[in-house]
């Protein structure tokens, strides 16, 4: 569903170096790695928000490299994204935030839009929050609104950038359950960055690990847990001693 081919991105210094990755449809891929290993940059490249220096990204077989903004907009109809800082539009209400992609990408009648917004809010356990403003919400609530906005268009591809960062363990588990429940229902392709390795492994089907911009592991969740590669072993199990 998503294929990353020899992707290299650098800002003032190289951030990603020749990454090859494959995210099959109807599965959850966990993208993990130490800080500053390039995970967010990889995710943004998959969304077409960053242009690579080398390599390409194929979304459902379509290459992103030579697309301009209108071309990318077509591709993005099939992608929903949750950003690390929630990226809720603070000049819109919660309801308007969730409705935004629907109104922009599709031509749906207003009642349908409202119905979907309410349904999403109920699904993320925030019923009746349509008229609240983002500033009045807690971190966990903002994340849930972000998930509602990312999933409202029923996109087949979902990109989550660290959905449980800064949340307490109970709320984190609820978010993981929510993401997994959605994925099982919609049979979507999910790529999820997480710094909470133990937590994300409870719902991931596949795992990819980045270290200093290079892909050092790609395989199933079970393979990740039993890997003998010292880097992977240390990170997955949270050990103090090792190459990291």
């Amino acid at each position: 569903m998503i294929r990353v081919q020899d992707l290299s991105v650098s800002f003032r210094s190289p951030v990603l170096d020749g990454v090859n990755l494959h995210a099959p449809p109807a599965s959850i891929l966990a993208l993990v790695g130490p800080g500053a290993s390039g995970k967010s940059v990889l995710l943004k490249s998959v969304a077409g928000l960053l242009r690579p220096d080398r390599g390409d990204v194929f979304v459902d077989g379509v290459s992103l490299a030579d697309k301009d903004e209108p071309g990318l907009a077509e591709v993005r109809k099939g992608i929903g994204m949750l950003f690390q800082n929630y990226a809720l539009f603070d000049y819109l209400t919660v309801g308007e935030n969730i409705a935004f992609p629907l109104r922009r990408l599709f031509d749906l009648p207003e009642e349908e839009v409202q119905a979907r917004v309410s349904e999403r809010l109920a699904r993320v356990s925030l019923p009746g929050f349509e008229h609240r403003i983002p500033r009045s919400l807690s971190g966990g609530q903002k994340k849930r609104v972000g998930i509602a906005r990312a999933t409202v268009a029923r996109a087949p591809i979902l990109l989550y950038d660290d959905p449980t960062a800064g949340l307490d363990p109970v709320t984190s588990q609820k978010i993981y359950d929510l993401i997994k429940g959605e994925q099982r229902e919609q049979r979507g392709c999910v790529v999820m960055i997480s710094s909470d390795v133990a937590g994300v492994l409870t719902i991931a089907d596949r795992v990819a690990m980045l270290h200093r911009g290079k892909l050092v592991f790609e395989g199933s969740a079970d393979e990740a847990k039993t890997s003998v590669d010292p880097l992977v072993r240390q990170f997955i199990h949270g050990l103090v001693e090792g190459p990291l």
Binding site: A73, Y86, L88, P101
Partner: protein, 271 residues
Amino acid sequence: MTEASATLVDSGPSALGRLMAPVSAGVNDIAGLFRLLGRTLTLISQGKREKGALLEQMYIIGNRSLVFMCITMGFIGAIITFQSAVQSQRLLPDLTMLGATFIKLLVRDMAASLGAMPLATRVGAGIAAEIGSMVVTDQVDALRMCAADPVDYLVVPRFIAATIMGTAVLIIAGAVAILSGMVIANGVFDVNFHTYLNFSMVTLGDVGLGVTKMVAFCAAIAIISAQRGLSTFGGSEGVGTATTRAVVGSSFAIIVLNFFISGLGYFFVPS
């Protein structure tokens, strides 16, 4: 990356190149600003933005700056009148033409040039900080994910609002400056209100030139501040830097534009 990084001129790593680097950086900067201006103007007719956004921006910009500008220009009017009176009394003791000259200069130039500087501070910093905050919290990327052009959604309403409301505010503030000058001239130098409010020296050319300057300055403030906001990077410090660059860039652009428009005015618009 985003479109902000396309360069027009690249001076290269040689010694001459390094010396010319600030110049080529400046040229690229100006080219980028004109590109943004072009896109903004095209999108004014073609764009698909939210309907309420323009009115909201006009309210925000007008509301935010009117009181500040009236106070500011009130002070400026008083100060300049006072200084002019003190100095011209060294030449001739007769202050009958004080008001007339002051009003002419105000309409032709000072309402725009002296008023645009504090306006750049108020409006420009606001635009850059707003857009910059949205960049660092990923809201601009989120817009792009929903096929919404950030220039259309964020820059166009602010551009139109700043140009229209900014000009209106400058005109009103200019009037306040005249009034405060009148009060000072009367209070300190015993110049009759009626004598001061002498519009005889003001020509249509003066009004045209003054309004042209106001529109040009406000448009410059809007585009430069929006561009600095959109090119923010680096978290909280980045927003501060963007605001700084917006105010300084706008102020400097006003001075340079004033130089050119005044020059043209000197040759083509008789006074």
